[in-house]
């Protein structure tokens, strides 16, 4: 089975609102694809359509080349965690996984394996109703891993987790992708995906905003700005302007320099004998890059209308 998700021209309307509008993207194996957009952007709707829960008004969603509803043992093709609280509170964690395993003809030994994989062995015989949010997330992830599927989908998996839990999920996502699986992770906070996603699909109001690699996005957003700290701001501005840079004054004794690399700035200042106390290359965070991206999208829309 091919490890991929292919979404082509997907559209879904709820009453007058267009929740997903002509969405096309591909989730490839061996990497973590972040699925990002503000709340209400259509992420969950898209995931439900991929998983055959909601029927699209137009377009197709294929998992491993097939529509989800035609899969006979779907847990072996796709593992998904949509809502961690979707567990009967009166049922023990192990029993929840047990009926899932039975439904796809999976051996009972898989239940104990995934419980160990998510660190829930000691809580296996406790009722899910008494679980903390973090434990429920782990149980949901255990359910997704049950069939050892090549494709995995997690909807907001770090929502409400403590830092330790977030770190654990990041490690898990990296290792799943490292095993060659296609992993799709949704989040409304780009920062949550920092350090775990390789690729990003960004949507807003149901439409695709960006489908790009994380590295390319960061490079584009960072530009080549350098932050300079010096007691002699006037002289430094004159020297650097002459060297072809765009310089703007920041707070106290800082300058932001664009258009020159750090090495050339140091050479120019040293040559002119201007002293400086610090120089740092500016690196955009994923969050900043995302803000820039969505701001553009909003402006585009404003211009268009």
């Amino acid at each position: 089975m091919e490890a991929s998700i292919e979404v082509r021209g997907l559209r879904k309307r709820y009453g007058p609102a267009l929740a997903v509008d002509d969405l096309t993207f591909t989730v490839r194996p061996g990497q973590v694809t972040g699925f990002v957009g503000p709340n209400g952007a259509g992420k969950s709707t898209t995931m439900r359509m991929i998983l055959g829960l909601d029927r699209p008004d137009a377009g197709t969603a294929l998992v491993g080349g097939r529509p989800y509803r035609t899969l006979r043992t779907p847990l072996c093709a796709v593992g998904a965690m949509l809502d961690a609280s979707a567990v009967h509170p009166g049922r023990k964690a192990r029993d929840h996984l047990l009926w899932l395993a039975h439904s796809n003809g999976l051996p009972v030994r898989r239940v104990d394996e995934v419980l160990a994989a998510v660190g829930l062995e000691s809580a296996a015989r406790r009722r899910a109703g008494g679980f903390s949010l973090g434990m429920r997330q782990r149980l949901g992830i255990a359910a997704a891993l049950l069939g050892d599927p090549p494709v995995l989908m997690f909807d907001e998996p770090v929502n409400g987790l403590d830092p330790e839990g977030i770190a654990w999920i990041r490690g898990l996502l990296r290792s799943l992708a490292g095993e060659g699986r296609a992993v799709l992770v949704s989040s409304h906070l780009m920062g949550e995906l920092e350090g775990s996603a390789d690729h990003l699909v960004v949507i807003g109001r149901g439409r695709l905003i960006a489908d790009t690699g994380v590295r390319e996005l960061l490079a584009a957003a960072s530009g080549d700005r350098v932050e300079l700290r010096t007691g002699r701001r006037g002289e430094a501005m004159t020297v650097l302007s002459r060297a072809g840079a765009t310089v703007s004054a920041g707070a106290r004794d800082t300058l932001t320099v664009a258009g020159l690399s750090a090495e050339r700035i140091i050479a120019a200042l040293t040559g002119a004998g201007v002293e400086f106390s610090g120089i740092t290359e500016h690196r955009a965070t994923l969050e900043e890059a995302y803000m820039e991206l969505t701001r553009d999208a909003v402006e585009h829309r404003a211009e268009a209308s």
Binding site: R48, L51, G52, L53, D54, R55, Y68, R69, T70, L71, R72, T73, P74, L75, A80, L82, D83, S85, A86, V87, H88, P89, G90, R91, K92, D95, H96, L98, W99, L100, H102, S103, N104, G105, A143
Partner: protein, 434 residues
């Protein structure tokens, strides 16, 4: 689609779901316990009075004069006179097995105002005109009994013939006098009260020329034989249905079955677990089918336990388990709980809201039963035929004045409702987003 196309896996998954929520197991136990509790209470409050009127004091004239009759034989007598104050007072010959009114029997009789008649079970046929004095004869060949009538004891006319399956082995045959009871039925919401007054204490019949071939061990009294008393022969359309009374706890026990059936599906909607279910098995109709099979089987098992348990604890004048009608009522109670569970499951899957679905199912199954007792019989029988409550007819063992529908036909009506509810639920499952 074949049976091994993953359906067995679905059954196993749904069974695992059902057995791993402890509260659901308790609900199932409650269904049985409630039914048994009502059975015990109703047995201790048993107000049953034996049919057929009070026993005659010793020495006074009796209503029957009976002898044993083997598989082939004849009983003959002349009804010399019948004095009574009502048209349906009767005197004549009877062949019967057991002393229950609804037991197997054939009788030929002279009535006060309706001529000569033959009767078996609920069937009463005209067999000639006129009244006493009259010669009567019943000839038995196995389960077939033929009646003859004669004016002079020499020329006989065939009056009719009945074949009654229950008339096996040695039966009792002889003379009887009878008169229908005065029955007052008061129907009110929640129940009925029937007061039967045996009448015709002034009923008096004189027989002579009584004879039986082969001759009985105890000879007939010589000369005129006088019989007197009230009470009727044949099935009593106002008699209490003892088996059904013992099973009346199922009306309450079904509430727990309905709750379990509805929660089995509505709990999944409440928590969004239905999505997990459909992720594991995207073919939704088959999920519903698997739920129905598992739940129906479990509810039927509870129904059997509740039925047989009630029968054992029910006390009173219950027939033996070998009685065909009683056995049908008990096995039928198992089926009844099974079908009620399917009906409630269908409503639960259609409405998707636990409290609303339980209310709807309970109202449809219980309310007709309660409302019917407050309506005239002519209207009440239609409630008993058209509503899902018709299913309870499978528990009736005798035909009464207010019987609405046959046992299997009644269960069939409920099956139709269950099929409709499940069909609509399957359609909604497929058509809408989960």
């Amino acid at each position: 689609m074949t049976g091994d196309d993953g359906f067995a896996r679905l059954l196993r998954a749904e069974w695992t779901k059902l057995r791993t929520v402890p509260r659901w197991g308790l609900t199932l136990l409650a269904a049985v316990a409630l039914t048994l509790l009502i059975a015990v209470l109703s047995a201790s409050g048993d107000m049953h009075k034996g049919g057929g009127g009070p026993e005659a004091p010793p020495g006074a004239p009796r209503k029957f004069e009976l002898r044993d009759l083997p598989a082939g034989g004849t009983v003959t007598a002349r009804v010399a006179a019948l004095t009574a104050d009502r048209a349906w007072a009767k005197a004549g010959l009877i062949v019967r097995r057991g002393d229950q009114r609804h037991g197997p029997h054939v009788a030929i009789m002279v009535t006060q105002g309706h001529g000569v008649r033959m009767q078996s079970g609920g069937e009463n046929r005209a067999a000639g005109s006129g009244g006493a004095p009259r010669w009567l004869r019943l000839t038995r060949a196995g389960t077939t009994v033929t009646g003859y009538v004669s004016a002079d004891g020499r020329t006989w006319q065939r009056a009719g013939r009945f074949t009654v399956g229950g008339l096996t082995g040695t039966v009792q045959a002889g003379l009887f006098v009878a008169s229908p009871d005065d029955v007052k039925v008061v129907r009110q919401f929640g129940g009925e009260s029937i007061s039967g007054q045996p009448t015709g204490d002034g009923n008096r019949a004189f027989f002579d020329n009584a004879a039986m071939t082969p001759a009985p061990a105890a000879p007939w009294p010589a000369g005129r034989i006088e019989l007197a008393g009230g009470g009727d022969i044949g099935p009593d359309r106002f008699a209490g249905d003892e088996t059904r009374r013992a099973l009346s706890g199922t009306l309450i026990g079904q509430a727990a079955i309905i709750a379990l059936a509805v929660l089995f599906v509505s709990a999944e909607y409440r928590r969004g677990m239905i999505r997990t279910t459909f992720l594991a098995s995207p073919r939704r109709g088959r999920v519903l089918a698997a739920k129905a099979v598992v739940l129906g089987a479990v509810a039927a098992a509870a129904g059997l336990a509740a039925g047989f348990g009630s029968f054992l604890l029910g006390g009173g004048n219950l027939p033996p388990l070998s009685d065909g009608a009683a056995l049908r009522a008990l096995l039928g109670t198992g089926l009844l709980f099974g079908v009620i569970a399917l009906f409630a499951l269908g409503i639960g899957a259609l409405v998707r809201h636990g409290a609303a679905a339980i209310t709807i199912a309970l109202v449809l199954l219980l309310a007709p039963y309660i409302v019917a007792t407050g309506l005239p019989v002519s209207a009440a029988v239609w409630l008993g035929r058209l509503t899902p409550a018709a299913g309870f007819a499978v528990q009736q063992t005798i035909e009464r004045y207010d019987t609405a529908i046959g046992p299997w036909a009644g269960l069939g009506v409920l099956c139709c409702y269950a099929a409709a509810a499940l069909g609509a639920a399957a359609w909604r499952l497929r058509a809408t987003d989960a």
